[in-house]
């Protein structure tokens, strides 16, 4: 490992490298979207509907003549935003729960894990559907639903990490020096399980993107006319014989993100194990 390029260790892992570039492709599309969008993504132009790639519309147009490229640029924002919020939600709630559970064990552990296990037993998408059915469709509710779904995985990972270290000798040693529980939890154990949490976050991101696309596909995520990959896909399926590219484009975007984050997570995991 050379000192002048600390990331070499990461990029020498093929999974991490591929995943990184896949994610970066989508992220750079999103960044491009902040500065330049060729057309209003919601502008309807029936005269030019379902066109193939032209110089005017480089990815063609949809059934209402909207520019697909512009809609993809805006759609990436939604996917990434939801991914970040959902993972953030899971980390902020799941990790402390897991930490308490793993560190203190006993009754605390039992109560927390019973709740988490019950939640895990719930089919995720069903839980999301229920929340959205009750609270209505909106970005916040999508994040809430998917966020609740992502809590258990963080709790479990954090729990196993804190369990592993709660009797580690350096923890015992800092206890012998009179360190409080809070100090041990946050300063001594947490930094040691950041790698595991990162892997989980990366995988959680992929599944959040996927679930969001699924919800939008079912019409329960982003509401029209706002673009979202899942929504585009569900609209495109009616025209699959006339305009194959219209189906292909959102599918590729979703695949890039989901596969990218999965590979990233796999890569991180094998790097950690080295």
């Amino acid at each position: 490992m050379k000192r002048n390029f600390p990331l070499r260790r990461y990029f020498s892992n093929i999974h991490f490298a591929i995943g990184f570039y896949m994610v970066m492709t989508v992220v750079s599309l999103m960044i491009l979207g902040f500065f330049y969008i060729p057309y209003d993504p919601n502008a309807i132009d029936i005269a030019h509907k379902l066109q193939g790639a032209t110089t005017a519309h480089i990815l063609g147009t949809d059934q209402l003549g909207r520019d697909i490229f512009s809609r993809v640029l805006v759609g990436t924002r939604v996917s990434l935003l939801i991914g970040i919020l959902v993972v953030g939600f899971g980390v902020l709630i799941g990790t402390p729960l897991g930490a308490l559970s793993g560190y203190f064990g006993g009754k605390t552990d039992e109560v927390i894990m019973k709740v988490i296990d019950t939640q895990m037993a719930f089919p995720g998408i069903l839980l999301a559907l229920m929340i959205i059915a009750v609270f209505g469709t909106s970005l916040q509710n999508t994040v809430l639903a998917l966020g609740l779904m992502s809590i258990p995985r963080f709790t479990r990972i954090a729990r196993s990490g804190f369990m592993k270290y709660r009797n580690a000798e350096f923890v015992q040693a800092s206890r012998a020096r009179g360190a409080s529980h809070a100090r041990i939890l946050v300063l001594h154990i947490l930094p040691n399980i950041v790698p595991e949490l990162l892997v989980t976050a990366s995988l959680g991101f992929a599944s959040a993107v996927m679930s969001e696309a699924g919800l939008s596909y079912l019409g329960l995520g982003m509401q029209p006319p706002n673009p979202s990959f899942g929504k585009m896909l569900s609209e495109a399926q009616n025209y699959i014989l006339q305009a194959w590219w219209y189906v292909l484009i959102p599918s590729v975007a979703i695949s890039l993100l989901v596969m990218g984050f999965n590979l990233l997570g796999d890569g991180l995991q094998s790097i950690n194990q080295q």
């Binding site: 000798e169 350096f170 040693a173 020096r177 009179g178 930094p191």
Partner: protein
């Protein structure tokens, strides 16, 4: 023990049990010992004899499944076992410090060693600048070179001996009256062992810190300690000043331990070993001598009558070979 010195730590009739299969099994049975200021006391015995459990009980760090039935521990005259968690936290690291066996794992791998030493000072009320200063001077006291650079090293960049020095520095930064060292040299190679042992001796002289040294090696202990307590299966079988124990061991177990130390005098001889192993918690006899089934000099009375401690030749021994009336 007649010298006019202040007792730092007094353990009186400590019993520590584990509940196994609905029955209380004693890991520590009726242990009493006293450490005076500035002295080094060794607790010697094989693995599983309850040495570490005794030490952990003094720190209030015994496992949650352990149960302290009877007994009292006094530190500088204050009873420890009845104090609150808060009081424990202020005592640990300030009144009593502990160093652990394995220097590889006793340091947090992700925190700079200097910071870890400093943290202990800060936990007990030192200011930021003050803590840093005493960290650096403590690092020098334990014989580390180039302390400015080592301050910002991570544990994996240091050798085992250096790490153990860091751990000692960490334990002593608050100048505690008592240091408990749980097999501090077991994980180190022999030359480093010697260095660490003489370091501890020096610090004991310079700072006046009393040390409770836990070891399974009488050889190591002989150079360092003032008093030795030999522990077997949770009880103290023999104790006294170190030269007495070494020159005139009475208990068969002590003799066995001494017999198993290699030395020049025993060149070309086979080393003795004590047959068998320490009985596990569940299999310890309720009455009779714990050492009965491994003892070479056992008698009929050993099986059924627990031996009592008697004074003999200036030290204490618990064995039927030395009856009380003598």
């Amino acid at each position: 023990m007649g010298k006019e010195r202040k007792a730092i730590l007094e353990i009186e009739h400590l019993h520590l049990d584990y509940r196994i299969g609905g029955r209380f099994c004693h890991a520590v049975h009726d242990v009493s010992l006293t450490i005076h200021s500035g002295e080094i006391l060794a607790l010697v015995g094989e693995s599983g004899c309850g040495k570490t459990q005794t030490a952990l009980a003094c720190m209030g760090l015994q496992p949650e499944s352990a149960h302290i039935g009877k007994g009292k521990i006094y530190f500088e005259g204050r009873e420890l076992l009845s104090q609150s968690k808060q009081q424990w936290n202020t005592l640990r690291g300030k009144g009593i410090s502990m160093i652990f066996q394995e220097p590889m794992t006793a340091l947090n791998p992700l925190v700079k060693v200097g910071k870890q030493i400093e943290e202990n000072g800060r936990n007990h009320g030192l200011g930021k600048i003050q803590a840093r200063e005493s960290t650096l001077s403590m690092m020098e006291k334990v014989g580390l070179p180039d302390v400015g650079r080592l301050y910002s090293c991570y544990p994996h960049q240091l050798s085992g001996g250096m790490r153990q020095r860091i751990i000692i520095a960490m334990a002593l930064i608050n100048d505690p009256p008592l240091l408990i060292a749980d097999e501090p040299t077991t994980a180190l190679d022999v030359t480093i062992q010697k260095q660490i042992m003489s370091l501890m001796k020096t610090l004991n002289k310079e700072l006046g810190t009393a040390i409770m040294l836990i070891s399974h090696d009488l050889g190591v202990v002989s150079h360092l300690c003032d008093y030795v307590h030999i522990m077997y299966a949770g009880t103290i079988v023999e104790n006294g000043p170190v030269h007495m124990i070494l020159n005139k061991p009475l208990h068969p177990y002590t003799k066995g331990l001494l017999g198993s130390i290699p030395s020049y005098g025993k060149k070309d001889q086979r080393l003795d070993s004590i047959a068998g192993i320490v009985p596990s918690l569940e299999n310890r006899p309720q009455v009779g001598c714990q050492f009965y089934n491994r003892c070479t000099q056992r008698m009929a009375s050993c099986k059924n009558i627990s031996p009592h401690a008697t004074m003999r030749d200036g030290h204490m021994v618990a064995c039927h070979l030395y009856p009380e009336e003598a």
